[in-house]
Protein backbone atom coordinates (compact mmCIF):
# COMPACT_ATOMS: atom_id res chain seq x y z
CA UNK A 1 0.00 0.00 0.00
CA UNK A 2 1.27 3.48 -0.90
CA UNK A 3 2.17 6.02 1.73
CA UNK A 4 0.34 8.68 -0.30
CA UNK A 5 -3.01 9.21 -1.98
CA UNK A 6 -5.03 11.78 -3.87
CA UNK A 7 -7.38 14.00 -1.93
CA UNK A 8 -9.65 16.87 -3.00
CA UNK A 9 -8.17 20.22 -2.02
CA UNK A 10 -11.61 21.63 -1.25
CA UNK A 11 -13.99 18.93 0.01
CA UNK A 12 -11.28 16.55 1.28
CA UNK A 13 -12.67 13.43 -0.41
CA UNK A 14 -10.08 10.70 -0.90
CA UNK A 15 -9.54 9.33 -4.40
CA UNK A 16 -6.81 6.74 -3.79
CA UNK A 17 -4.22 6.62 -6.56
CA UNK A 18 -5.35 6.89 -10.15
CA UNK A 19 -4.80 9.10 -13.19
CA UNK A 20 -7.21 11.89 -12.34
CA UNK A 21 -6.86 15.51 -11.36
CA UNK A 22 -10.30 16.69 -10.35
CA UNK A 23 -12.84 15.74 -7.75
CA UNK A 24 -16.03 14.53 -9.43
CA UNK A 25 -18.02 15.87 -6.51
CA UNK A 26 -16.99 19.51 -6.52
CA UNK A 27 -14.79 19.85 -9.62
CA UNK A 28 -11.90 21.05 -7.45
CA UNK A 29 -8.29 19.95 -8.00
CA UNK A 30 -6.82 16.91 -6.29
CA UNK A 31 -3.57 16.94 -4.37
CA UNK A 32 -1.26 14.23 -3.08
CA UNK A 33 -1.23 13.80 0.69
CA UNK A 34 1.15 11.58 2.65
CA UNK A 35 1.17 9.50 5.77
CA UNK A 36 3.21 12.02 7.74
CA UNK A 37 3.14 9.98 10.96
CA UNK A 38 4.92 7.12 9.22
CA UNK A 39 7.41 9.54 7.66
CA UNK A 40 8.08 11.17 11.01
CA UNK A 41 9.10 7.79 12.35
CA UNK A 42 11.53 7.42 9.44
CA UNK A 43 13.13 10.77 10.22
CA UNK A 44 13.77 9.48 13.71
CA UNK A 45 12.97 11.81 16.52
CA UNK A 46 15.58 12.78 19.06
CA UNK A 47 18.89 11.69 17.63
CA UNK A 48 17.71 12.13 14.04
CA UNK A 49 19.36 8.91 12.89
CA UNK A 50 16.38 7.47 11.02
CA UNK A 51 16.33 6.30 7.42
CA UNK A 52 14.99 9.67 6.30
CA UNK A 53 17.05 11.89 8.58
CA UNK A 54 19.27 14.78 7.49
CA UNK A 55 22.30 12.53 7.86
CA UNK A 56 20.89 9.74 5.73
CA UNK A 57 19.67 12.16 3.05
CA UNK A 58 23.19 13.63 2.90
CA UNK A 59 24.53 10.17 2.00
CA UNK A 60 22.29 9.86 -1.03
CA UNK A 61 23.23 10.78 -4.63
CA UNK A 62 22.95 14.51 -5.44
CA UNK A 63 19.66 14.52 -7.30
CA UNK A 64 16.01 15.12 -6.50
CA UNK A 65 15.37 11.44 -5.78
CA UNK A 66 17.10 11.91 -2.41
CA UNK A 67 13.70 13.14 -1.19
CA UNK A 68 11.78 10.15 -2.57
CA UNK A 69 9.88 9.62 0.68
CA UNK A 70 8.11 12.93 0.05
CA UNK A 71 7.35 12.20 -3.61
CA UNK A 72 4.45 10.12 -4.98
CA UNK A 73 6.55 7.43 -6.64
CA UNK A 74 5.24 3.95 -7.45
CA UNK A 75 6.48 1.24 -5.06
CA UNK A 76 9.91 -0.02 -6.08
CA UNK A 77 10.40 2.75 -8.64
CA UNK A 78 13.99 3.06 -9.79
CA UNK A 79 14.76 6.48 -11.33
CA UNK A 80 16.71 6.41 -14.56
CA UNK A 81 17.83 10.05 -14.71
CA UNK A 82 19.72 12.13 -12.13
CA UNK A 83 17.35 15.10 -12.23
CA UNK A 84 17.64 18.16 -9.99
CA UNK A 85 19.92 19.12 -7.12
CA UNK A 86 20.85 22.21 -9.07
CA UNK A 87 23.23 24.79 -7.59
CA UNK A 88 22.17 27.31 -4.95
CA UNK A 89 24.71 30.09 -4.55
CA UNK A 90 25.15 33.65 -3.37
CA UNK A 91 24.79 36.44 -5.92
CA UNK A 92 26.69 39.37 -4.39
CA UNK A 93 26.99 41.52 -7.50
CA UNK A 94 23.36 41.11 -8.43
CA UNK A 95 22.39 41.77 -4.81
CA UNK A 96 24.17 45.11 -4.89
CA UNK A 97 22.57 46.03 -8.19
CA UNK A 98 19.07 45.12 -7.07
CA UNK A 99 19.18 46.48 -3.54
CA UNK A 100 21.48 49.43 -4.05
CA UNK A 101 23.57 48.38 -1.06
CA UNK A 102 26.39 45.95 -0.30
CA UNK A 103 24.46 44.77 2.77
CA UNK A 104 22.55 42.23 0.66
CA UNK A 105 25.69 40.67 -0.83
CA UNK A 106 25.74 37.57 1.37
CA UNK A 107 21.99 37.26 1.64
CA UNK A 108 20.78 36.95 -1.93
CA UNK A 109 20.84 33.45 -3.42
CA UNK A 110 20.05 32.07 -6.85
CA UNK A 111 18.48 28.63 -7.24
CA UNK A 112 19.71 27.86 -10.71
CA UNK A 113 17.43 25.45 -12.55
CA UNK A 114 18.76 26.83 -15.83
CA UNK A 115 21.13 23.86 -15.50
CA UNK A 116 18.58 21.26 -14.44
CA UNK A 117 19.06 18.02 -16.37
CA UNK A 118 18.24 16.77 -18.90
CA UNK A 119 16.50 19.72 -20.60
CA UNK A 120 17.70 22.81 -18.72
CA UNK A 121 14.56 23.86 -16.90
CA UNK A 122 12.83 23.00 -13.65
CA UNK A 123 10.17 21.14 -15.66
CA UNK A 124 12.48 18.13 -15.65
CA UNK A 125 11.54 17.71 -12.00
CA UNK A 126 7.78 17.56 -12.48
CA UNK A 127 7.96 15.39 -15.58
CA UNK A 128 10.27 12.91 -13.86
CA UNK A 129 7.60 12.28 -11.22
CA UNK A 130 4.69 12.31 -13.69
CA UNK A 131 6.30 9.74 -15.96
CA UNK A 132 7.08 7.41 -13.08
CA UNK A 133 3.32 7.25 -12.54
CA UNK A 134 2.52 7.14 -16.26
CA UNK A 135 4.36 3.84 -16.53
CA UNK A 136 2.79 2.51 -13.36
CA UNK A 137 -0.70 3.33 -14.66
CA UNK A 138 0.10 1.49 -17.89
CA UNK A 139 0.10 4.40 -20.33
CA UNK A 140 2.16 3.86 -23.47
CA UNK A 141 1.73 7.47 -24.62
CA UNK A 142 2.34 10.64 -22.65
CA UNK A 143 1.29 14.11 -23.61
CA UNK A 144 1.08 17.72 -22.47
CA UNK A 145 0.10 21.23 -23.38
CA UNK A 146 3.16 23.40 -23.09
CA UNK A 147 4.72 26.80 -23.43
CA UNK A 148 7.98 25.07 -24.32
CA UNK A 149 10.00 23.93 -21.33
CA UNK A 150 7.48 21.26 -20.45
CA UNK A 151 7.43 20.12 -24.08
CA UNK A 152 11.20 19.63 -23.99
CA UNK A 153 11.06 17.77 -20.69
CA UNK A 154 8.20 15.43 -21.62
CA UNK A 155 9.82 14.61 -24.97
CA UNK A 156 13.20 13.87 -23.42
CA UNK A 157 11.95 11.83 -20.47
CA UNK A 158 9.55 9.90 -22.72
CA UNK A 159 12.46 8.98 -24.98
CA UNK A 160 14.41 7.77 -21.98
CA UNK A 161 11.47 5.76 -20.63
CA UNK A 162 10.51 4.27 -23.98
CA UNK A 163 7.13 6.03 -24.12
CA UNK A 164 5.50 7.75 -27.07
CA UNK A 165 4.99 11.49 -26.70
CA UNK A 166 2.41 13.84 -28.20
CA UNK A 167 3.13 17.49 -27.44
CA UNK A 168 0.65 20.33 -27.96
CA UNK A 169 2.09 23.84 -28.24
CA UNK A 170 0.99 27.32 -29.31
CA UNK A 171 2.22 27.81 -32.87
CA UNK A 172 4.22 30.96 -32.01
CA UNK A 173 6.59 29.21 -29.61
CA UNK A 174 10.31 30.03 -29.68
CA UNK A 175 12.08 27.99 -32.43
CA UNK A 176 14.64 26.59 -29.98
CA UNK A 177 11.86 25.13 -27.82
CA UNK A 178 10.19 23.49 -30.82
CA UNK A 179 13.47 22.05 -32.07
CA UNK A 180 14.30 20.95 -28.54
CA UNK A 181 11.13 18.87 -28.61
CA UNK A 182 11.40 17.53 -32.16
CA UNK A 183 14.86 16.18 -31.53
CA UNK A 184 13.63 13.61 -29.02
CA UNK A 185 11.30 12.08 -31.58
CA UNK A 186 8.10 13.45 -30.06
CA UNK A 187 5.06 14.23 -32.20
CA UNK A 188 4.62 18.01 -32.00
CA UNK A 189 1.15 19.42 -32.65
CA UNK A 190 1.19 23.18 -33.25
CA UNK A 191 -2.08 24.85 -32.35
CA UNK A 192 -3.12 28.11 -33.91
CA UNK A 193 -4.00 29.73 -30.60
CA UNK A 194 -2.56 30.85 -27.27
CA UNK A 195 -1.56 28.56 -24.42
CA UNK A 196 -4.93 28.78 -22.70
CA UNK A 197 -6.60 27.56 -25.87
CA UNK A 198 -4.07 24.73 -26.21
CA UNK A 199 -4.73 23.87 -22.61
CA UNK A 200 -8.47 23.76 -23.02
CA UNK A 201 -8.09 21.57 -26.09
CA UNK A 202 -5.88 19.16 -24.16
CA UNK A 203 -8.49 18.87 -21.42
CA UNK A 204 -10.97 17.81 -24.10
CA UNK A 205 -8.54 15.40 -25.77
CA UNK A 206 -7.68 13.88 -22.39
CA UNK A 207 -11.37 13.14 -22.06
CA UNK A 208 -11.33 11.06 -25.22
CA UNK A 209 -7.89 9.41 -25.42
CA UNK A 210 -6.30 7.11 -22.90
CA UNK A 211 -3.04 9.03 -22.74
CA UNK A 212 -1.08 10.20 -19.75
CA UNK A 213 -1.33 13.98 -19.93
CA UNK A 214 1.25 15.10 -17.43
CA UNK A 215 -0.53 18.38 -16.72
CA UNK A 216 -4.08 17.06 -16.93
CA UNK A 217 -4.81 13.57 -15.61
CA UNK A 218 -1.33 13.12 -14.05
CA UNK A 219 -1.22 16.67 -12.72
CA UNK A 220 -1.45 15.93 -8.97
CA UNK A 221 1.63 13.67 -9.20
CA UNK A 222 3.46 15.90 -11.66
CA UNK A 223 3.13 19.03 -9.56
CA UNK A 224 4.62 17.27 -6.54
CA UNK A 225 7.95 17.25 -8.39
CA UNK A 226 8.08 21.02 -7.88
CA UNK A 227 8.53 20.47 -4.16
CA UNK A 228 12.06 19.29 -4.75
CA UNK A 229 13.05 22.92 -5.46
CA UNK A 230 11.98 23.73 -1.90
CA UNK A 231 13.64 20.67 -0.35
CA UNK A 232 16.91 21.51 -2.07
CA UNK A 233 16.81 25.18 -1.06
CA UNK A 234 16.40 24.14 2.60
CA UNK A 235 19.14 21.51 2.50
CA UNK A 236 21.56 23.71 0.56
CA UNK A 237 21.08 26.51 3.08
CA UNK A 238 22.22 24.07 5.77
CA UNK A 239 18.78 22.73 6.66
CA UNK A 240 17.25 26.10 7.33
CA UNK A 241 14.59 28.10 5.55
CA UNK A 242 15.16 31.47 3.88
CA UNK A 243 13.28 34.63 4.81
CA UNK A 244 11.97 35.21 1.29
CA UNK A 245 11.44 33.28 -1.93
CA UNK A 246 10.84 35.05 -5.25
CA UNK A 247 9.25 32.77 -7.79
CA UNK A 248 8.00 33.21 -11.36
CA UNK A 249 4.34 32.39 -11.88
CA UNK A 250 2.50 31.03 -14.90
CA UNK A 251 -0.08 28.48 -13.77
CA UNK A 252 0.80 29.40 -10.18
CA UNK A 253 1.75 25.92 -9.03
CA UNK A 254 5.48 26.20 -8.24
CA UNK A 255 5.12 28.86 -5.56
CA UNK A 256 2.48 26.78 -3.76
CA UNK A 257 4.61 23.65 -3.96
CA UNK A 258 7.73 25.31 -2.55
CA UNK A 259 5.54 26.39 0.34
CA UNK A 260 4.25 22.82 0.70
CA UNK A 261 7.84 21.54 0.68
CA UNK A 262 8.85 23.91 3.49
CA UNK A 263 5.73 22.99 5.47
CA UNK A 264 6.50 19.28 5.11
CA UNK A 265 10.09 19.73 6.26
CA UNK A 266 8.83 21.61 9.31
CA UNK A 267 6.17 18.98 9.96
CA UNK A 268 8.78 16.22 9.89
CA UNK A 269 11.23 18.15 12.05
CA UNK A 270 13.89 18.34 9.33
CA UNK A 271 14.03 22.15 9.64
CA UNK A 272 13.04 24.60 12.34
CA UNK A 273 9.69 26.29 11.89
CA UNK A 274 9.90 29.69 10.26
CA UNK A 275 7.56 32.11 8.50
CA UNK A 276 8.82 32.42 4.93
CA UNK A 277 7.47 35.20 2.73
CA UNK A 278 6.55 34.19 -0.81
CA UNK A 279 6.79 36.70 -3.63
CA UNK A 280 5.33 36.02 -7.06
CA UNK A 281 6.76 37.41 -10.30
CA UNK A 282 4.88 37.90 -13.55
CA UNK A 283 5.18 39.80 -16.80
CA UNK A 284 2.86 42.80 -16.94
CA UNK A 285 1.58 41.51 -20.29
CA UNK A 286 0.23 38.45 -18.52
CA UNK A 287 -0.28 39.19 -14.86
CA UNK A 288 -3.58 37.74 -13.64
CA UNK A 289 -2.10 36.60 -10.32
CA UNK A 290 -0.11 39.72 -9.49
CA UNK A 291 -3.09 41.86 -10.49
CA UNK A 292 -5.30 39.93 -8.06
CA UNK A 293 -2.72 40.29 -5.26
CA UNK A 294 -2.34 44.01 -5.88
CA UNK A 295 -6.07 44.65 -6.01
CA UNK A 296 -6.78 42.51 -2.96
CA UNK A 297 -8.88 39.99 -4.89
CA UNK A 298 -8.87 36.30 -4.05
CA UNK A 299 -10.09 35.35 -7.52
CA UNK A 300 -8.45 35.36 -10.93
CA UNK A 301 -9.71 37.55 -13.76
CA UNK A 302 -8.37 35.84 -16.90
CA UNK A 303 -6.23 37.86 -19.31
CA UNK A 304 -5.19 37.59 -22.95
CA UNK A 305 -1.39 37.25 -22.72
CA UNK A 306 0.86 39.65 -24.57
CA UNK A 307 4.47 39.33 -23.45
CA UNK A 308 7.84 38.04 -24.60
CA UNK A 309 7.86 35.83 -21.50
CA UNK A 310 6.04 33.06 -23.32
CA UNK A 311 6.80 30.45 -20.69
CA UNK A 312 4.73 32.53 -18.26
CA UNK A 313 1.98 33.43 -20.73
CA UNK A 314 -0.93 31.71 -19.05
CA UNK A 315 -3.88 34.07 -18.81
CA UNK A 316 -6.11 31.67 -16.88
CA UNK A 317 -3.81 30.07 -14.30
CA UNK A 318 -5.15 26.79 -12.94
CA UNK A 319 -3.49 27.29 -9.55
CA UNK A 320 -3.94 31.07 -9.47
CA UNK A 321 -6.34 30.94 -6.56
CA UNK A 322 -3.90 28.92 -4.46
CA UNK A 323 -0.95 31.08 -5.48
CA UNK A 324 -2.81 34.15 -4.22
CA UNK A 325 -3.52 32.38 -0.94
CA UNK A 326 0.12 31.35 -0.55
CA UNK A 327 1.40 34.85 -1.20
CA UNK A 328 -1.10 36.68 0.97
CA UNK A 329 -0.97 34.11 3.76
CA UNK A 330 2.79 34.45 3.99
CA UNK A 331 2.86 38.25 4.14
CA UNK A 332 4.47 38.38 0.71
CA UNK A 333 3.55 40.28 -2.41
CA UNK A 334 3.48 39.97 -6.17
CA UNK A 335 4.97 42.21 -8.81
CA UNK A 336 5.03 42.36 -12.58
CA UNK A 337 7.40 43.91 -15.09
CA UNK A 338 7.42 45.11 -18.69
CA UNK A 339 9.11 43.36 -21.60
CA UNK A 340 12.00 45.90 -21.74
CA UNK A 341 12.57 45.34 -18.01
CA UNK A 342 12.69 41.59 -18.65
CA UNK A 343 15.41 41.99 -21.27
CA UNK A 344 17.40 44.39 -19.08
CA UNK A 345 17.24 41.87 -16.25
CA UNK A 346 18.33 38.93 -18.42
CA UNK A 347 21.39 41.05 -19.27
CA UNK A 348 21.88 42.14 -15.66
CA UNK A 349 21.89 38.57 -14.36
CA UNK A 350 24.28 37.48 -17.09
CA UNK A 351 26.67 40.40 -16.61
CA UNK A 352 26.61 40.37 -12.81
CA UNK A 353 26.62 36.65 -12.04
CA UNK A 354 27.36 34.76 -15.23
CA UNK A 355 23.93 33.13 -15.48
CA UNK A 356 22.09 33.20 -18.79
CA UNK A 357 18.41 32.75 -18.03
CA UNK A 358 15.35 32.70 -20.22
CA UNK A 359 12.63 35.35 -20.08
CA UNK A 360 11.01 33.86 -16.97
CA UNK A 361 14.29 34.37 -15.11
CA UNK A 362 14.38 37.95 -16.34
CA UNK A 363 10.91 38.41 -14.88
CA UNK A 364 12.04 37.04 -11.52
CA UNK A 365 15.14 39.22 -11.34
CA UNK A 366 13.30 42.38 -12.41
CA UNK A 367 10.51 41.79 -9.91
CA UNK A 368 13.07 41.15 -7.16
CA UNK A 369 14.58 44.55 -7.93
CA UNK A 370 11.18 46.18 -7.53
CA UNK A 371 10.60 44.36 -4.25
CA UNK A 372 13.94 45.56 -2.85
CA UNK A 373 13.15 49.12 -3.92
CA UNK A 374 9.74 48.88 -2.25
CA UNK A 375 11.40 47.65 0.96
CA UNK A 376 9.23 44.55 0.84
CA UNK A 377 12.50 42.59 0.75
CA UNK A 378 15.24 43.90 3.01
CA UNK A 379 18.98 43.56 2.30
CA UNK A 380 19.68 41.74 5.56
CA UNK A 381 17.08 39.05 4.82
CA UNK A 382 18.01 35.72 3.23
CA UNK A 383 16.30 35.77 -0.13
CA UNK A 384 16.22 33.10 -2.83
CA UNK A 385 15.39 33.87 -6.45
CA UNK A 386 14.15 30.87 -8.45
CA UNK A 387 15.75 30.84 -11.88
CA UNK A 388 13.69 28.24 -13.68
CA UNK A 389 14.96 28.14 -17.26
CA UNK A 390 17.91 28.57 -19.59
CA UNK A 391 18.52 31.58 -21.82
CA UNK A 392 19.73 29.47 -24.72
CA UNK A 393 16.09 28.54 -25.34
CA UNK A 394 14.87 32.11 -25.79
CA UNK A 395 17.69 33.80 -27.66
CA UNK A 396 15.17 35.26 -30.11
CA UNK A 397 14.15 37.92 -27.57
CA UNK A 398 17.69 39.27 -27.63
CA UNK A 399 17.77 39.57 -31.42
CA UNK A 400 18.97 43.07 -32.26
CA UNK A 401 20.13 43.80 -28.71
CA UNK A 402 23.75 43.16 -29.64
CA UNK A 403 25.22 44.44 -32.90
CA UNK A 404 27.14 42.10 -35.17
CA UNK A 405 30.75 43.19 -35.04
CA UNK A 406 32.57 43.73 -38.33
CA UNK A 407 35.31 41.15 -38.86
CA UNK A 408 38.92 42.31 -38.93
CA UNK A 409 41.97 40.86 -40.67
CA UNK A 410 44.10 38.45 -38.57
CA UNK A 411 46.83 41.04 -38.01
CA UNK A 412 48.00 42.67 -34.77
CA UNK A 413 47.95 46.12 -36.35
CA UNK A 414 44.34 45.59 -37.36
CA UNK A 415 43.47 44.63 -33.82
CA UNK A 416 45.26 47.66 -32.35
CA UNK A 417 43.36 49.91 -34.70
CA UNK A 418 40.12 48.15 -33.81
CA UNK A 419 40.91 48.53 -30.13
CA UNK A 420 41.40 52.26 -30.49
CA UNK A 421 38.08 52.61 -32.25
CA UNK A 422 36.21 50.34 -29.87
CA UNK A 423 37.33 51.54 -26.45
CA UNK A 424 35.85 54.56 -24.78
CA UNK A 425 38.29 57.53 -24.56
CA UNK A 426 38.87 56.92 -20.85
CA UNK A 427 39.57 53.22 -21.53
CA UNK A 428 42.05 54.15 -24.26
CA UNK A 429 44.00 56.34 -21.84
CA UNK A 430 44.02 53.54 -19.25
CA UNK A 431 45.04 50.98 -21.86
CA UNK A 432 47.94 53.20 -22.98
CA UNK A 433 49.04 53.69 -19.38
CA UNK A 434 48.92 49.92 -18.86
CA UNK A 435 51.02 49.20 -21.92
CA UNK A 436 53.57 51.85 -20.94
CA UNK A 437 53.75 50.50 -17.39
CA UNK A 438 54.19 46.89 -18.49
CA UNK A 439 56.90 47.88 -20.98
CA UNK A 440 58.69 49.85 -18.26
CA UNK A 441 58.54 46.80 -15.99
CA UNK A 442 59.89 44.67 -18.81
CA UNK A 443 57.16 42.12 -18.55
CA UNK A 444 55.53 42.73 -21.90
CA UNK A 445 52.24 41.16 -22.74
Amino acid sequence: MSHYELRCRECGRSWGNQPRSICDDCFSPLEVTYDYDALRAQVGRGNGQGTFSRASIAQRPPNMWRYSELLPLPPGYEPRLPVGFTPLFQAPHLAEQLSGTTAAAKNLYLKNDAVCLPTLSFKDRVVAVALSQAKAFGFDTVSCSSTGNLANAVAAHAAREGLKAWIFIPSDLEPAKILGTNVFGAKVVRIDGNYDQVNRLCSQIADEHRWGFVNVNLRPYYSEGSKTVGFEIAEQLGWRLPDNVVCPMAGGSLITKIKKAFDELIKLGLVEAKEVKFFGAQATGCSPISTAVKTGSSEIEPQKPSTIARSLAIGNPADGHYAIKTIKGSGGWSEDVSDPEIIDSIKLLAESEGIFTETAGGVTVACAGKLYRQDRILPEETTVLCITGNGLKTTDVLAGVYRTERPIAPKVAEFESYLQQTLEPADVAAEIRGVVASQAAGVGA
Binding site: S21, D24, C26, F27, P29, D196, R200, Q204, N316, A318
Partner: protein, 93 residues
Protein backbone atom coordinates in the same frame (compact mmCIF):
# COMPACT_ATOMS: atom_id res chain seq x y z
CA UNK B 1 -32.36 29.54 -30.91
CA UNK B 2 -30.73 26.17 -30.20
CA UNK B 3 -27.33 25.90 -28.62
CA UNK B 4 -25.29 22.79 -27.89
CA UNK B 5 -23.77 22.00 -24.51
CA UNK B 6 -20.88 19.53 -24.20
CA UNK B 7 -20.60 17.76 -20.85
CA UNK B 8 -17.18 16.40 -19.84
CA UNK B 9 -16.71 12.77 -18.86
CA UNK B 10 -16.17 13.70 -15.23
CA UNK B 11 -19.77 14.90 -14.98
CA UNK B 12 -21.49 12.26 -17.08
CA UNK B 13 -22.20 10.00 -14.15
CA UNK B 14 -24.66 12.69 -13.11
CA UNK B 15 -26.27 12.83 -16.56
CA UNK B 16 -26.84 9.10 -17.07
CA UNK B 17 -23.95 9.13 -19.51
CA UNK B 18 -25.31 11.93 -21.67
CA UNK B 19 -22.37 13.87 -23.15
CA UNK B 20 -24.17 16.54 -25.10
CA UNK B 21 -27.54 18.28 -25.14
CA UNK B 22 -29.24 20.85 -27.33
CA UNK B 23 -31.40 23.49 -25.73
CA UNK B 24 -32.78 26.98 -26.26
CA UNK B 25 -31.25 28.86 -23.32
CA UNK B 26 -30.52 32.50 -24.08
CA UNK B 27 -27.95 33.09 -21.34
CA UNK B 28 -25.92 31.27 -18.70
CA UNK B 29 -28.63 31.58 -16.06
CA UNK B 30 -31.17 29.95 -18.32
CA UNK B 31 -28.70 27.29 -19.34
CA UNK B 32 -28.17 26.29 -15.73
CA UNK B 33 -31.94 26.17 -15.21
CA UNK B 34 -32.24 23.79 -18.16
CA UNK B 35 -29.44 21.61 -16.80
CA UNK B 36 -30.99 21.63 -13.30
CA UNK B 37 -34.28 20.44 -14.67
CA UNK B 38 -32.83 17.81 -16.97
CA UNK B 39 -30.13 16.52 -14.62
CA UNK B 40 -31.02 17.32 -10.99
CA UNK B 41 -27.98 15.39 -9.71
CA UNK B 42 -25.66 17.67 -11.65
CA UNK B 43 -26.63 20.90 -9.90
CA UNK B 44 -24.40 20.68 -6.81
CA UNK B 45 -21.42 19.87 -8.99
CA UNK B 46 -21.75 23.03 -11.05
CA UNK B 47 -22.62 25.48 -8.29
CA UNK B 48 -21.66 25.84 -4.64
CA UNK B 49 -23.95 26.17 -1.61
CA UNK B 50 -24.48 29.86 -2.38
CA UNK B 51 -25.51 29.18 -5.95
CA UNK B 52 -22.27 30.56 -7.38
CA UNK B 53 -20.61 28.80 -10.30
CA UNK B 54 -17.87 26.63 -8.86
CA UNK B 55 -14.45 28.26 -8.92
CA UNK B 56 -12.80 25.50 -10.89
CA UNK B 57 -15.43 25.20 -13.60
CA UNK B 58 -14.58 27.02 -16.82
CA UNK B 59 -17.24 27.72 -19.40
CA UNK B 60 -16.35 28.27 -23.03
CA UNK B 61 -18.53 29.45 -25.88
CA UNK B 62 -17.22 28.45 -29.29
CA UNK B 63 -13.82 27.91 -27.70
CA UNK B 64 -13.69 31.34 -26.05
CA UNK B 65 -13.78 31.71 -22.26
CA UNK B 66 -17.21 33.16 -21.48
CA UNK B 67 -15.58 35.65 -19.11
CA UNK B 68 -14.11 37.39 -22.16
CA UNK B 69 -17.60 37.60 -23.70
CA UNK B 70 -19.31 39.25 -20.76
CA UNK B 71 -19.75 36.25 -18.48
CA UNK B 72 -23.25 35.83 -17.13
CA UNK B 73 -24.40 38.78 -19.23
CA UNK B 74 -23.51 37.11 -22.53
CA UNK B 75 -26.51 36.34 -24.78
CA UNK B 76 -26.14 33.03 -26.58
CA UNK B 77 -26.32 33.12 -30.36
CA UNK B 78 -27.94 30.46 -32.48
CA UNK B 79 -25.58 27.54 -32.97
CA UNK B 80 -23.29 28.42 -30.06
CA UNK B 81 -21.37 25.46 -28.70
CA UNK B 82 -20.92 25.63 -24.94
CA UNK B 83 -18.16 23.64 -23.25
CA UNK B 84 -17.93 22.89 -19.53
CA UNK B 85 -14.26 22.30 -18.74
CA UNK B 86 -12.60 21.77 -15.38
CA UNK B 87 -9.80 24.21 -14.70
CA UNK B 88 -7.22 21.53 -14.27
CA UNK B 89 -4.42 21.79 -16.74
CA UNK B 90 -1.75 24.43 -16.81
CA UNK B 91 1.90 25.14 -16.39
CA UNK B 92 3.70 24.11 -13.27
CA UNK B 93 5.54 27.40 -12.67
Amino acid sequence: MPITVQIPTALRRHTAGVGSITCAASNLGELFSVLDEKFPDLKPHLRDDKGQIRRFLNIYVNEEDIRFLGGQGYSFQEGDEVLLVPSIAGGAV
